[in-house]
């Protein structure tokens, strides 16, 4: 069974028709989750443009901690593959890197390319959990927290904070590194911490090489950011309510819109595993799910899992890029979410399904209705 309406099993045809009518009547529809392969996310952007929806990926908050810092001051970043080939010093910030494969892999070998080739690789930790099998030098973040410690480290590196200090040795190691890499999770540092970190990296590049390496999120957020950029020229939290894409990270936060009662319909796209927000059961929602149970939303349609059921373009964490994930012998059903979204697009774009008859169709076809 792959489709449900109000928790009851339905044919896919009926479910898609129900989804179309749910979205067709909406004033401010929200497309959220967006945890799927590039083609389906692209189809969601196309459908949003057709029906005037806004979009917000599941990775929204963490992603915007990094995008905000990038938009404000730029960033000098590298990829996990480059870090593994070139870095002689890796600084892990906070707790998140210790739960990531990237740090474990970086700890297993040393640089083989570039200036630091042949040197050992030192793993340093600032505010880490101090556990695990990876050998490293640990520095405490202090009671002021990680973001404050990043600022303090930046002050020490630049020589604006002087004198004996527990982090002075860490600052010296970063300055002496030939190719330093700072591994962090923007969700943990926060937007201010991420921007300070980018400043620290830029300061270090006055005299040596150092790069920021953000941990990717688990929900295709980085891929969505790229798809949003090529589709709209802007970040992923965009809305098409006024026809053209408007970027507004505050206004188009899906959780905020649901809580404020602004969203009157939603489409939750999670072909890959994604924590389901509580609002999918309160806001009239169409859920396209790779692992559906049937009661997640008003209309639930099962879709194929990209990279398992069929070959797909997904985020590749090691390359830090969208890459093709091939599958041998794809299974025909259920198909990709993109097919459902294209079906919805065809239904909602056709004149017969136009949701709002204009008040004065002869004089003002685009503008009608009232409060």
């Amino acid at each position: 069974m792959t489709a449900w309406i109000d928790g009851r099993a339905a044919t896919r045809e009926d479910a898609v028709a129900a989804a179309a009518s749910l979205l067709a009547g909406a004033r401010s529809p929200v497309f959220a989750g967006l945890c799927a392969e590039a083609a389906s996310v692209q189809a969601a952007f196309d459908l949003a443009r057709t029906i005037g929806a806004s979009l917000d990926p599941a990775a929204g908050s963490a992603l915007y901690a990094d995008l905000g810092a990038l938009a404000s001051g730029g960033a000098m970043t590298t990829t996990p593959a480059e870090a593994r080939g070139r870095a002689d010093v890796v600084l892990a910030l906070g707790a998140a890197p210790w739960a990531s494969d990237i740090l474990t892999e970086l700890a297993t070998d040393g640089p083989v390319r570039g200036r630091a080739s042949g040197r050992p690789r030192a793993v340093l930790a600032l505010g880490g959990p101090g556990a695990g099998s990876v050998q490293h030098v640990a520095y405490p973040a202090g009671e002021a927290g990680l973001a404050a410690a990043i600022g303090l480290l930046r002050g020490l590196v630049a020589g604006r904070v002087a004198g004996p200090h527990p982090l002075a040795d860490l600052a010296t190691r970063l300055r002496d590194a030939l190719y330093g890499v700072i591994l962090y999770d923007p969700a943990e540092t926060g937007a201010l911490g991420a921007e300070m970190l980018n400043g620290l990296v830029k300061d270090l590049n006055e005299t040596t090489r150092c790069f920021a390496l953000p941990l990717g999120d688990l929900h295709q957020g980085r891929a969505v950011a790229q798809i949003a950029a090529w589709s709209t020229g802007q970040g992923p939290r965009v809305g098409f309510g006024r026809g053209t894409p408007e970027h507004d990270p505050w206004r188009f936060d899906a959780g905020r819109q649901a809580a404020a009662g602004e969203a009157d319909a939603a489409l939750w796209l999670a072909a890959l595993p994604t924590p389901l927000p509580a609002w999918t059961r309160t806001v009239p929602t169409v859920a396209l799910l790779g692992a559906p149970k049937g009661d997640e939303a008003q209309v639930v349609i099962g879709v194929g899992v990209p990279g398992e059921a069929f070959g797909a373009a997904l985020w590749h964490p090691r390359r830090a890029a969208i890459a093709w994930h091939a599958v041998d012998g794809p299974q025909p059903v259920p198909g990709p979410a993109a097919a459902i979204l294209a079906d919805l697009q065809a239904r909602l774009a056709s004149p017969a399904e136009k949701p709002f008859p204009a008040k004065n169709p002869t004089t003002n076809p685009e503008r009608s209705a009232s409060c």
Binding site: R27, L67, A144, L192, W250, S370, C371
Partner: protein, 265 residues
Amino acid sequence: MSILTLREAPPERLDLDGLTPAALAGLSEAEAARLPVGTSRRGLTLGDCFAISLDGSDELRIVGATERLDRVGAGLSAGRIVVEGDVGQRLGAGMTGGTLTVSGSAGPFAGTAAKGGTIRIAGNAGESAGGALHGAEAGLDGATLMIGGTAGERLGDRMRAGLIVVKAAGAHVGSRMIAGTIVAEAIGDHPGYGMRRGTLVAARHGALLPTFVETGRQDLVVLKLLATSIQALVPEAAALLRAPMRRYGGDLATLGKGELFTPVG
């Protein structure tokens, strides 16, 4: 006085950008009623949502306002806008002159990029009041922003010029500040994170960053001059500025030319 009266709670966020006394002065009520204010594909107009009464004067009153009204007073250059009720995000964004008063509370980013004029919020303000939008060059940029209640986090974030006076504010007041002045009765933890220049004055404050250092007790003429200049606007804040002050310099993570003053003792 021109009056816009909201008929009922709007079913979507409305964008009042550019609805200033000057912009309305040249319009008939019928013309004004056709101005687009909706943010969904339904294309709501001013007349759909508000009862409109225009007299061409330089004062505009918005009655029955709610937190769904965004960019109220944005782009104001002269005259006066009086709001009865609450407003949404970006109150007075980019205004260059005139006065804007709100009897209730404001959403986030009040006064963002405002270069001149005065904004008074009687109630509270959301996050980043006087702060910069995503990727924007600056937050408050020369205007005066007064908040009678409590402001959220990151008050004056990346502000470049102007004055903010507030009763209380959350964490990270004056984060990434480029220049300008913030005067508060109480502020939260870690004020001035990443501030380059600028002045914070607070009667009470939360935890200070390790990159702020005390530079001793100061008796600066400039604070007395500031007290005189804001005496008429906010006498309580002026009294605070006349007290003997302890000075902290920071944020040494960045340029370090900012400062936090707090009363001695």
